[in-house]
Symmetry: C2
Subunit: 310 residues, 2 copies
């Protein structure tokens, strides 16, 4: 019995979601909504997935999806999810603005309960699977410090945030770890006419995404030149040193080196599986990844998974 | 509102559980059952926790515990847990014989449902938190291979299994990683009178705990000499290389270097917290760590935890 999913947006995430759905043994992708701002979409091979200009067009043409996977920029995502939840659709998003997660969970919880639907939010790798790691590491060594060191790599969230700022035509933001959970940001920008490097720097520095970290801004000629630094490689090194009971010197480390949108998309698909199952169990509400039993992220029978993975 | 816990057994795990309970903000330890075989218990400082010769003695003297944390050898643990569950006590154990976990979950599930209680089984670091990692890594890169490389370190389960074999008076088993998820075992043994090194080797090699791996057996004079190799250091390196959707070359790694019984005990206490909460929600049954939302492992308010960890 396959679940059905629709994809909202056809940027980096949406495209990768389509590929991950194609490989999932328990999912069919009924269609994708191609937003006006979806980047470079004309040349993208949808491999048979039908595309629509709006979600209502999609609904008029294909089977009602069990879950809608959001491939929107973080800032647009909660509003769109809230509307879908109110209409009774399960949603999954990789909203990544850490400071706002509690607020977003509150909003979506309310809409999900009213719509008798399930939302999974902040379901990428950070926030997302990294959140599971931080939770587990703290349970394992309750006294101690965790450092989450991102990069070196291209931050999709920071790049998208930059592109939406006035004076900036295009941007790629690289996150560079400084150790101890601290980072600097190196942003490569294509300026709009009339905007200077200094103005771009001030605009970016004033944005909450960038306000807390050392910042470098490099101006490049055009989007073609920007492509030279816009590979999707990313990674994280999470380190906790702490104590379990009377035992100090507990060293817990997680490191990954990954294709960023592909991993985010894969986690969205795993979370979509959990969302549909939670809805079938009538456990309506808004979940983050730490609210979900990990086994729900995988297809297949519980006892088979226990035998193989526990 | 504090939860109450009793500890069954006062070996390496039981002792560390007492220390972790002492530090937990939401637990009180009502007592410990000191088994006849508990090692070196006469000199152990219980820091005010009352000890009893049997669980029924404990019940006759102190408050009924919300959860019983099992510090028994794995082979004795399921039977003891089943009996407690039948009597309506929640149990948590670090049963570690991977091949038997599915069977044990089935047995304990049945007893737990009948007793209207919750069991959390296989709740150490492997099986346990490593199981969460394997589950997460597979969700993140569904196509690929995971290697779990243990050690170098002392395996409590393998050491206890050895000590129970005929001809062996005392033993310490060291696990040495060979790469690719393969291991060799180096066992240091004190022989009983009449047992030779060759006999000890054959007896150990025939045990299911040791049958699959290269084995070395070194004879030492007495338990005093054994102490020289019996430190509780251990660790694991878990590596997954795989693909997320169309993206190959996804590298996911978890490594830890830890005091083994202290970490196991800490995870037992975190799991005990989840067990009591699940029982309060009337979700009776048997759980492994991958069946439990990670947030239930930590004390405190959900929204505070989401804000801090997601």
């Amino acid at each position: 019995m396959a679940f059905t999913a629709a994809v909202l947006g056809l940027g980096n995430i949406g495209r990768c979601v389509i590929r991950s759905l194609e490989q999932a043994p328990d999912f069919t992708c009924v269609g994708v909504v191609r937003r006006a701002t979806s980047i470079g979409t004309t040349t993208y091979d949808l491999r048979g997935v039908p595309d629509f200009p709006s979600f209502d067009d999609l609904l008029n043409n294909v089977e009602r999806p069990d879950v809608v996977i959001m491939g929107l920029p973080s800032r647009l995502s909660p509003h769109a999810a809230a509307e879908l939840l109110s209409r009774g659709f399960n949603t999954v998003d990789s909203f990544d603005i850490h400071d706002r997660i509690v607020e977003v969970v509150g909003t979506l919880e309310n809409k999900a309960e009213k719509g008798r639907a399930v939302a999974v939010t902040a379901a990428g790798w950070d926030p997302g699977t990294d959140s599971i790691m931080r939770t587990m590491f703290e349970a394992m060594a309750p006294v101690g410090t965790t450092f989450t060191n991102f990069g070196r790599g291209r931050s999709m969230g920071h790049s998208a945030a930059c592109r939406s700022l006035p004076g900036i035509a295009d941007a790629t933001a690289i996150t560079i770890p400084l150790g101890g959970g601290r980072h600097s940001r190196h942003v490569f920008v294509v300026l709009e006419k009339g905007c200077t490097q200094e103005q771009a720097y001030e605009t970016i520095k004033a944005d909450p995404y960038f306000a807390h970290d050392p910042l470098n801004v490099t101006v490049v000629r055009d989007s073609k030149e920007l492509e030279m630094v816009a590979d999707a490689s990313h990674g994280v090194l999470m380190e906790r040193v702490g104590a379990s009971g009377a035992a100090n010197n507990q060293h817990l480390t997680m490191e990954m080196r990954i294709d960023n949108p592909a991993l985010t998309a894969q986690i969205l698909v795993a979370s979509a599986r959990a969302a549909v199952r939670l809805c079938q169990m009538e456990k309506y509400g808004c979940y983050t990844l730490i609210d979900i039993p990990p086994i729900m992220l995988l297809p297949g029978d519980r006892m088979e998974l226990l035998g193989r993975l526990v």
